[in-house]
Symmetry: C2
Subunit: 339 residues, 2 copies
């Protein structure tokens, strides 16, 4: 069966609507049923304003999807009051964005759809609208009642990198690291690589925290006291190597020898990721009961409504969502057969 | 006048001698007087063992350099007892390496030579030999009685990056940063860019410490409390921008808009540097009364004596040393004329 992929509109005052329309124009032949979730009226407004050659077809429920011709983008309409005000942080836009994500998630949880690709939302706008979430990741974790984790993936450069800590001040990173935390991250990563990427025994690299991975304990103690003992214990259950000195690891492209890499802090992962995948990188949320990907950029209020936004990352995110949805369904079929 | 560049042999049990010989074979036409400093006997041993087509000519003092034909590599011989034992950490080799560097530095301090390109030494070997220095940088700072700073330069990718902290455990980086320290780093960098690179008003980028450069103080306080006020104050004297979020800075190649970048910690600089300049990167010591460069790798004991070491980085280091020596002499001439 062809997977159904939902594209959530994101903040209507940013570039999300534009990149969905541009991406759809290039993705019509994708072997998936694509459906945008958001405001029909605002999709139509952006389409006209940017003069994009994409037909739109409003639907009220997913079972109408088959009646929409492949040349048109189906829009599952979300009721709201918001009107596009390019570049502005507005509560009504934040509210519409979150309602679209909520609807998409509920459809996936009911197994009516299989994957979500999210256009960017704006943190402040959703806070203004009274939603108590930082962004997509924690909202989806809450709706699904799962512990989740981000993965940054670039299929072209073969870099997939996860984070042991995310938005933590650099000085606090060391104290946030723990044996249990690292074990959980590796477990989630391992499971996702097996289930979503179809890799039987995933090879995972773990980076050190300190310069030169501490040079044997001379520059910091975390490698000797935390990372090495933890990895040694986990080596019975996972195919692990590390802790690697991060500079040499990326310089020598060692990530190509692994299915994924676990970095200790934000910039240790994001500096190399953005260098390798500036327009093609994709974010994934691991640990959800459905597939979720997103492009590797924000609302870009500074260029909103100008027609110059680049849809490459959104296209990559949609292609990867399809690949993962197919792999996940194949894994489910296998496990049913085995059971 | 043609600058004289000294090539110090480094640890004879590593790849240093091999890369000097290989590099010289490709640098014969360089408009510089090249002279190796080290053991004539061990140079000859490596040359024979690796069957390298380079003639050697022993000299006892630099004034004999003009009598050596351009096709031969002049070796300023250093007395010693060491014999090559590939891949071994030995005190005699450490001692020979340090004596070579000491002689080269004294010749530069007496203005008999103008630049040093150092082949790698081994920290443990020099410690075994009783030398109380961590490596080249602090040894040369001591001999010259100057405060120095490292710069990583890759002319091809246009990345030049200096470090606010070097071999500091990640958890201690924040407490090591200070207004005074950052001011000194920027001053040294600015002076070197003017004097050695011939850039009139150098543009310097400063990176933030935290993820997203703290997002306005939400993820850590160092940007708001230390970096922004410091940069604001220094902006009267220097052409500065920052603090930049490091991931986006490297992802968008913003370093190309600056003559140099100041990173806050080791891997923030060395991850992108090694990715961009894995075999062509050069290290420089700024602040010395002479030019010093070195290749961006270590003794590589694992491949010593096998003939497979790559001389690219040493060649780049030598070319850059010549460029800097010429720029520095031009600057000296200008200042003499002005005085």
């Amino acid at each position: 069966m062809t997977p159904t992929i939902l594209l959530t509109q994101g903040d209507i005052n940013g570039i999300g609507t534009e990149i969905i329309l541009k991406a759809f124009a290039k993705l019509r032949r994708l072997k998936a049923r694509l459906c945008a979730v958001g405001s029909m009226r605002e999709f139509e407004f952006h389409r006209k304003r940017l003069d994009l050659p994409v037909a739109l077809a409003e639907i009220a429920a997913l079972d109408e999807l088959d009646s929409v011709p492949r040349s048109a983008l189906a829009i599952l309409n979300v009721k709201h009051e918001a009107k596009t005000k390019f570049g502005q942080v507005r509560a009504d836009a934040g509210d519409l964005a979150m309602k679209s994500v909520e609807l998409a998630a509920r459809l996936c949880l009911r197994d009516e759809a299989h994957a979500i690709v999210t256009a960017p939302i704006h943190k402040e706008a959703i806070a203004k609208a009274g939603w108590a979430f930082e962004g997509h990741t924690d909202f989806l974790a809450h709706l699904s009642n799962r512990r989740v984790q981000m993965l940054f993936a670039d299929e072209r450069s073969q870099l997939r990198v996860a984070l042991a800590t995310v938005h933590v001040p650099l000085a606090k990173v060391s104290e946030r690291l723990s044996t249990q935390g690292i074990e959980e991250k590796i477990q989630t990563l391992h499971d996702a690589l097996r289930r979503d990427f179809g890799i039987k025994t995933p090879r995972i690299a773990v980076l050190g925290l300190n310069p030169h991975a501490s040079d044997g304990g001379i520059i910091g103690r975390e490698e000797e006291e935390l990372l090495k003992p933890t990895l040694k214990r986990l080596a019975r259950r996972f195919r692990l190597k590390g802790p690697f000195a991060a500079d040499g690891f990326f310089g020598a492209k060692l990530y190509r020898n692994f299915d994924a890499t676990l970095a200790m802090y934000h910039d240790q992962a994001l500096i190399p990721f953005k260098m390798l995948a500036f327009e093609t990188g994709v974010n994934l949320t691991l640990g959800l009961p459905f597939v979720r990907t997103s492009p590797d950029h924000g609302v870009a209020f500074d260029i909103a409504g100008k027609g110059i936004a680049n849809e490459s990352s959104f296209i990559e995110a949609t292609k990867l969502a399809l690949k993962l949805a197919i792999a996940r369904r194949a894994a489910q079929t296998r496990s049913r057969v085995l059971a």
